[in-house]
Amino acid sequence: MAYGEENPESATPAVAAVAPAAAPAATPFWYPIRDAFVSVQKKVEAIQKADSENERLRLENAHLRLKLEALSYDRREKKAEKNTQEVGTRLKLETGSKLGRTLASMTYKPPMHLTPDQLHLLGLTYFKSREDEKAAVIFSMLIRAEDNEEFRTAENFLLAGISWYRLENLPLAERYFDSVIHSSHGTAGPVAGQAWLWKAVIAERQGNHKKSQEWLKEVLNQNPHSKEAAWVNSKEEANRAVASGK
């Protein structure tokens, strides 16, 4: 055999020829677009769902906050109402009025750099302008001063008593009016007369009509032609001479 010639007997048997596999068909160009659209749509739906959930949670949060605020408000409201009733009842027992004030319930502090005379003048000013808490504090302080008895006069007792009356503290006011009468030593005078009148008013407010009449008669008996007596009765009655037949 010539070189290069294949021996037909020793040649590798030829592999049976197989038809080659068919090449895959080309995908349409819109497939990626479709897939992208679907993917984006899913994401958008997810976002939409999250947004709705967020809105729902916001609303729920607002509801809970509102409920919390409303419950807190209701609690404070009930507590305030209860405090008003309780404190009012206690004040009624202590002072005779639900609106009564005591020294402990007032926050006013008189200026300490003033002399007693200046403080007295300040108290008079507050008394005239109806700033009763300040006037009551100042007069009480001046009267109770242990190292100075100069201000324990009938007039100051009367001013203190009227201030405390205006603050609806009837027992304390009555004590000061008693001090007026005591310091006047029972003598008739405008200051004592006014104190009796105020005591009559207090007795009337406390429902003790009989006592109030006694105090008014005391005013008439002590000084029937006084200005205070004129307040009690009419003008003609006040001008009536004592022990006259009329």
């Binding site: 958008v44 509102l66 807190s72 507590k79 319930s105 005239k128 302008s129 109806r130 300040k134």
Partner: protein
């Protein structure tokens, strides 16, 4: 021919966005034909409005209506609100308030604002009437002026700062327990001391007021006026009534005018004297002895010269006459 992958993806995104259904539609409010209780004028920060049906939570954009019985919550910032009755209300940070229906009886007798907590600045005037703000324990009233109402939830205390005009604070469970305030005064109500009345009006410290006013977005003019009134009140030495009663530039002392005696009273007194004295003459002297006493004779010092006689007196008189004639003839050039 296939496009490049990047371009295809980009096109897909653009198409999907263009076709994206609206994820969250902002609902429009159904007004039901009712006038809202208030409208938001301006806001800043985190402010929310909830409608009374509790189904909608709105952001506080300008012109957002607040239906009656709706709530406003300010977490941060501030919000400026105009009430339908004409009140201008501002809420500061950490404030929660409700605007209930206040005209159920046609007379506007209800309370326009309920302050749950926080701070509120109110301005009234121009015929808007009285603004009542209710807290858990108090009710404040402001007419023709401006005021700040604060409810401190930790102390459970209501404080009223009257900036301009007259205001009042009262215990809402006892209407008689009321305190009136003037410009530049403050009062508070709590139950720490044994009293159900609010505290007496006290002048506000200007520094504290300035610090408080910063929380609100107020015009500079209004802030200056409030500070000026507070300063005037703080510097006032005497009580309000005595200072207010005196007219400007008038003397504080009123002239004393003596009443002229009435003619009739003189006749009456004479008649009375005659009657009481039983017709005796000189009855006045008996009844009013002080009138008949002559005034005490004032002592006078008189020196007499015993050697002085009438002749000497005549000589002295002649000498005096001569001197007077000489003096009258003197001329000073």
């Amino acid at each position: 021919m296939l496009w490049p992958l990047g371009s295809k993806a980009l096109l897909a995104v653009v198409l999907s966005v263009a076709l994206l259904p609206v994820a969250h539609a902002k609902s429009t409010r159904d007004s039901d034909g009712k006038i809202p209780c208030a409208v938001i004028e301006n806001a800043s920060g985190l402010v929310q409005v909830m409608d009374p049906s509790r189904t909608q939570l709105l952001d506080a954009d300008p012109k957002t209506p607040i239906d009656c019985d709706g709530w406003v919550s300010v977490t941060k910032g501030w919000v400026s609100i105009v009430h339908r009755d004409g009140f201008k209300i501002q809420l500061s940070a950490q404030t929660f308030a409700q605007f209930p229906e206040n005209n159920t009886d046609g007379k506007r007798s209800g309370d326009p604002v309920i302050l749950y907590r926080g701070s509120l600045h109110a301005r009234t005037g121009g015929g808007s009437g009285e603004l009542r703000v209710v807290t858990a324990n108090a009710r404040t009233r402001t007419v023709n002026g401006s005021a700040i109402v604060v409810f401190n939830e930790s102390d459970e205390e209501t404080q009223l700062l009257a900036l301009e005009g007259e205001s009042a604070i009262e215990n809402r469970f006892h209407a008689a327990a009321r305190t009136a305030l003037g410009s530049g005064e403050a009062s508070n109500l709590n139950f720490k001391r044994m009293r159900i009345l609010p505290s007496i009006p006290n002048p506000m410290a200007v520094a504290s007021l300035r610090f408080k006013l910063v929380e609100f977005k107020l015009p500079e003019k209004e802030v200056s006026l409030a500070l000026q009134l507070a300063k005037e009140r703080q510097e006032r030495k005497f009580t309000a009534a005595s200072a207010a009663q005196r007219k400007i530039a008038s003397s504080s002392v009123k002239p004393v005018v003596k009443a002229k005696p009435k003619q009739s009273s003189k006749w009456v007194s004479e008649h009375l004297s005659r009657k009481l004295a039983g017709g005796m003459s000189g009855g006045d002297r008996i009844l009013f002895p002080e009138k008949t006493i002559t005034p005490a004779h004032t002592p006078q010092l008189k020196i007499e010269d015993p050697s002085f006689n009438s002749a000497k007196k005549a000589e002295l008189d002649r000498e005096k006459q001569r001197l007077m004639e000489e003096l009258s003839q003197l001329r000073f050039d």
